[in-house]
């Protein structure tokens, strides 16, 4: 499953120029990978082979309840991204083969990250996605902005993330040195036994700081909006739906599993940062003019809920975090697909420019956008609702060793954040969908956009269906991760 996208990527990059071949390869590889992912998740297969003996690093991949949903999400979304990218023009700036190759490389890296069962291997896989993503943003970014802006966005993305992962590496090495093994299963089973309190706090701080950049937690989020805005649609979707998940997954897997006491000590900070992120993202969304940036900021807010859920330290919290992850993956992918297409036609995504209303002129776009926005504001019956509701619930009644008062205050503030989300979602709906002020539109802006159709429409509709299904029957997902989180937490209890 992992090798396939990697080989496909190499093949794609090696094929020069535009051709039909690489389209076929990309399609085939993405599809087969998705099928394999389903098989692997169903079977819980494992790969375990020695790799770097002198470092004790092994090729050890496996799927469990925590990662299964994320693996599926990644594999399926890649199919969607490839299908979407191939049904339209490839962004200018390079050959299609490089573009598709980078997408597949990102997929390979993300799958490896989610399935890695070895801390050092996790780090290596974590790094794999950096360069292809950088290429996607740098080379295939929005051609309407000057080259320097693209360079700035891409550079900021890669430098922030590299800093995060190197800090994480220091934390991992500290952990591995003191525990004597880098096997995540063993590390999780020990649950920080044998580590002094201060050491746990140091490791947890390094890990949380490093992964927090990727999530992104509030003061470290500044790379996200520019990268999202500049990146092509495929890049934005992968960035929001897959890469951000690697951060929260890492926190659950690496930090919560291995140094529970350290995380417990730092959970107030995590909760506060999460809440600040929720509010900050919401407020920024209220005034943001660029539609893509707006969605990027709303990502910051959603990931704040996930951080809050992790900080609660209870089983429900972890479930909520994982559910919120998937929910955000689906919803942000949907929104970015729609907005990316709109931007492609409009040329920009500035909300101040009066344009023809989507409701009248392009109903399919309008429908998808409204579903996405409704999900983003956490409407019951859609997928995000459960993530956010559970997060708030978990934080209200946290694990016994967490500061209850603080977390409850955070819950209140988080609820305010939900109200903000409603505010900005409705603002966007009012302007773009209902077409407030569209009478003032003149010239090209008054031209209605071509409605989405064909493959792109199918992609978008599939995501809508997923969002609604998971919103109505969340147990599909909760059941998947139930046993695993319980295991993580019973170990947690034993460790104490």
């Amino acid at each position: 499953m992992l090798l396939l996208p990697l080989l496909g990527a190499i093949a794609c990059i090696a094929i020069p120029g535009e051709s039909k071949v690489e389209r076929g390869i990309a399609h085939g590889v993405a599809l087969v990978t998705a099928v394999l992912a389903v098989v692997v998740v169903a079977d819980r297969q494992q790969v375990d082979a020695p790799w770097i003996r002198s470092l004790g690093v092994r090729w050890h991949f496996g799927v469990d309840g925590i990662s299964a949903a994320l693996v599926l999400l990644t594999a399926v979304l890649t199919v969607a991204v490839v299908a979407h990218a191939l049904s339209g023009p490839i962004p200018r700036g390079g050959t299609g083969s490089t573009f598709l190759g980078c997408i597949l490389l990102v997929e390979a890296g993300a799958l490896a990250t989610f399935t890695a069962r070895d801390a050092v291997l996790f780090f290596i896989a974590f790094e794999v996605v950096l360069v292809p993503m950088w290429v996607l943003v740098r080379r295939f970014g929005d051609e309407h902005v000057p080259d320097e802006t693209r360079a700035d966005a891409a550079g900021r993305f890669v430098l922030f993330t590299a800093l995060g992962s190197t800090l994480m590496l220091v934390g991992i090495l500290l952990l591995v040195h003191h525990q004597g093994t880098s096997d995540l299963t063993v590390l999780a089973a020990r649950h920080g036994a044998g580590l002094s309190r201060s050491l746990q706090v140091t490791i947890a701080a390094l890990l949380l700081l490093g992964l927090g950049i990727k999530v992104p937690l509030w003061p470290l989020h500044t790379w996200l909006p520019s990268a999202h805005t500049i990146a092509p649609t495929a890049g934005s979707v992968l960035l929001a739906a897959v890469l951000l998940k690697m951060g929260t997954y890492g926190i659950v897997r690496l930090a919560v599993g291995t140094v529970p006491r350290g995380v417990a000590e730092l959970s107030p900070v995590l909760a506060l940062l999460g809440v600040v992120g929720i509010l900050w993202g919401g407020l920024a969304c209220l005034v943001e003019r660029d539609l893509k940036r707006l969605i990027a900021y709303s990502s910051v807010a959603h990931m704040g809920f996930v951080a809050l859920a992790i900080a609660s330290g209870s089983e429900t919290g972890l479930q909520a975090a994982l559910f919120g992850n998937i929910a955000h993956g689906v919803v942000s992918a949907l929104l970015f697909f729609v907005v990316g297409d709109l931007k492609e036609q409009w040329g920009s995504a500035d909300l101040r420019v009066a344009r023809a209303a989507l409701r009248d002129k392009a109903p399919r776009f309008g429908f998808a956008l409204v579903v996405g926005l409704a999900a983003a504001l956490g409407l019951p019956g859609l997928v995000s609702f459960w993530g956010e509701f559970l997060a708030l619930y978990a934080a209200w009644s946290p694990a016994p060793d967490r500061p209850v008062a603080l977390l409850r205050a955070c819950v209140v503030l988080g609820a305010v954040g939900l109200a903000l989300a409603a505010g900005y979602s409705l603002r966007v709906a009012r302007i773009v969908w209902a077409g407030e002020g569209s009478e003032a539109a003149t010239g090209a802006a008054a031209e209605p956009v071509l409605d989405t159709r064909g493959v792109r429409y199918a992609v978008v509709m599939a995501l809508v269906v997923v969002a609604v299904t998971l919103g109505i029957v969340p147990h599909l997902l909760l059941g998947l991760s139930d046993a695993a989180t319980t295991g993580l937490l019973t170990g947690l209890g034993a460790g104490r």
Binding site: A14, P16, P50, W51, I52, R53, S54, L55, G93, G94, G109, V120, F123, I124, E127, V128, L130, V131, W134, V135, R138, R139, D147, A151, G155, V158, L159, A162, L163, T166, L167, L169, V170, L173, L174, H177, T202
Partner: protein, 526 residues
Amino acid sequence: MKGLTIDYAVVLPALLPVVGLVVVLVADLVDPRLRRFPYAVAGLAALGSALATGPGLALGGGSTRQTFCLTGRAAARGSLPAVEGLPQVCLWQADALGSTLQLAAALSALLCIALAWPGTRRTRPVGSTREPVEAVLLLAALAGTVVVAASRDVGTWLVALELATLPVIALVALSGRRSAVAGATQLLVTSLVSFALLVLGVALWFTATGSPFLTPDAALSTGGAFAAGPAAGATAVVSPSVSAGLVALATVLVVAGVGFKLSLVPFHAWTPTAYAGSSVAVATFLATVSKVAALAALLVVLRAVSALGTPALLAIAILAALSMTLGNVMALRQADVVRLLAWSTVAQAGWVVLPLVSISALGVTASATYLLTYVVATLVAFAVVAVTLRDEPGRGRQLTAYDGLWRRNPWRAGALALALTSLAGLPPGVIGLVGKITALRPVVAEGWVWLAVIAAVNAVIGVAVYLRWLRGVITVPEGRAAPRQPAAEALAAARRRPALVAGLVLASAVLVVVSVQPDLLLRLLG
């Protein structure tokens, strides 16, 4: 001289370059017009030297250190009085680590020879002695490097280290450009200063330990002799604490002296000038073989000291942090790729000594590992620069000459991308990543968290440095998108410089293989 045996097979890695050197000189005497012969001989000698390290690698695979005793290496040994009570000491100890460093030096030298391979079109005045001289100097420096990695007594150590350094100065001066002389002068002056420091350090070592050997036993004899000293009534001239202090001082001086050769900040000033002034082949030699020599020398001393269990040296930590920071920041500002690589060398030297803050077997191995990854990646980068220089003689050194290389020549661009990502420590250059992990491990293990965090920040600046170069490679320049080089023409170009391309292919292949299977590299070091 009596009772000492020489195993010539073991000394072979050092002997072959010397033999090659003599052959080149004789051939030059016989027929001075041979232009490629010196390089062919030099290449063969380097290859032979590399092959000759094979047994050492195989032997040292385990944790046991295989040693070989022989004499006749240093003629001056006879004049030294035998030190009583010392166990039998081997002057030449080639264990896995030493052999690996020798192998790296020999292979790097081979590649440098390929880079320096004379083109057919270049016309030289008749009677030019440039080629044989260059070949001789390269071989001499290689011999010095090989010897220093295995030497275990101060005399050989010093002489070999200088043998590895001095020919390089001549090489820089010979590369012909006017700025080369400036570089060579700077190199000469710093080399002399570093030699002075080294001699002083070695003298202090001798004073402190009373032993001319750079072995753990000798170091222990300090502590041991003085611990047992008063009771046994040994003739201790100095008190134990003073002696331990002397060893520490000697170590610091040696570190400073070698720091010049490794171009650690603040002993780095010669690096950019010398690199930029000399030809690419010589700069490559400076960046790879000389660094191997310097690190090998440093490791010989530090391994001896490590037996004492000396606390980690703050000096090394500061040197490492300074080198990384200054090197990276300066590299960010360079427009000339050779200068960029020069500053990157400074930064990487910081990474190389970083693990040495824990003076332990772990630190030593990690340092050597990082050096090897750096050497391989730098070789590839320099080879790409050399190939580009032959294509575009005027602009090949400019960063802008690499714009759109991906379009024009995907293979070369791929090799360069792999080398740069390895140096930056990002996948697909997995080996660079593994090197960084290895280098950070002892640092973290010893609890130097602040240093590790500085290193992490520097890793990020390093990423910025190399991506700055890589950005040009993968982007298509606006307006002047050069058409792809027709395959036939590229092939013809490749035929014109087979040695160069072969070298590039070889180095890239090594890089790819160790990236896929880093264990191959790591296990070499035992």
